[in-house]
Amino acid sequence: MDEAVVSTFGFGLSDPALANLLQIVGLSLRVTLTALALAAVIGLPLGALIGISRFPGRKAVIIVVNALMGLPPVVVGLVVYLTLSRSGPLGALGLLFTPAAMVVAQTILIVPIVVALSRQTIEDLWGELGEHLRSLGLTDVAAVPTLLWEGRFALATALLAGFGRASAEVGSVIIVGGNIAGFTRTMTTTITLETSKGDLPLALALGGILICLTIALNAGAFAISRVGARHAG
């Protein structure tokens, strides 16, 4: 992070405090980006398949996936907690209160967003391009890579939306991560803790960084749609 940014957000934090802040920001980004990558790998092909296939109960699946977009993070946190806790079904993995547990929780939060938005995008593209692709000899499943690439701009925006949701949420990571200093403390959980303790400079600095992140995400989405319009007409 360069000097200007540090002095803007450092609020006169001492060197160890600054190191602490950078560590927290780094962990937050690492957790959320890992969750986003996993959600993309799971969600994009899944959304595409739902988008192009016809099966009984498809409408119900779509309604459920759309509803899951609004899943309360604390509920996800609770379910992941119960699953990973020592007596839970995956307790033996010993993941509770680790960054891996936070990745799992955030992946669950992002997947429905990626599936729902990519399903809509791919379904529209399949309507437009389906006959051409089948004319070339592609089966439905073989057409998925083409459709994902055709929808790349809309899908990138969907991923940004997922990233935005995960980086701003606090409910699930605080439950499954435990907010352990230097290990599972993210920007949002730190703000929660420090505010209640009265350590406002660190909370404010992290809040500022989160706001900048949000602005950067929106600028990114805007830039993507501009580039998309140039290619797609």
């Binding site: 004319s135 070339l136 290619h231």
Partner: protein
Amino acid sequence: MRAEATILPLELDRLRFEADGRRLIDDVDLVVARGGPTVLLGPNGAGKSLLLRLAHGLVAPTSGEVRWAIGGGETAGRKRHAMVFQKPVMLRRSVHDNLIHALAAAGFCRSDRAARADEALARFGLRDHAGRAARLLSGGEQQRLAVARAWSLDPEVLFLDEPTAHLDPSATRAIETMITTLRAEGRTLVMATHDLAQARRLAARVVFVLGGRVVEDAPAEVFFDNPATEAARAFLAGELVW
């Protein structure tokens, strides 16, 4: 076009297509042998596009059969019939990449693709547009790319669905010249149109379609000079037929 096993004749056997309780294609029997362009002529909604999509295998018939002389219209594992749609379908990538994508999807090996794409660009006057976004081309340029793309797949049979609808006279002439060239290469064309003048210019055989039925099927001169049915006479006279 390479001389090899032919997928012709194509036989449509008592083909029927129903949707929402309406019979849209009604017991069509049609044989397409190797030869000059067959033009499906008929008013809007007659079922021309539907018949082409059934023949090309994009739509499954309610009953009846589409038969190719060999292997479902494939030789050496590659589909030998291609289609140009009424509304050109362009992928969100460059003109060149649209060609490459079609060649890859149709199963051409990597080493063949670039050469074929370049040849198609050169033949159809698209070289200057190679790097442009395909969807930002004009309607006429898009239709030209659609024909070039179908040609690059080296089809023995080419289905063309109103390839010049919405084009201006010079773009129409360019497409018609391309069609004549395809014919001269020994490809068999099956084309839908409701443009009488175009049918006169291009057709060797006319199949007059009305209400999902083949009402008349004759060599072009015979159809235009001496139509056998009242419906065809009315259509040629420019009177609406339903």
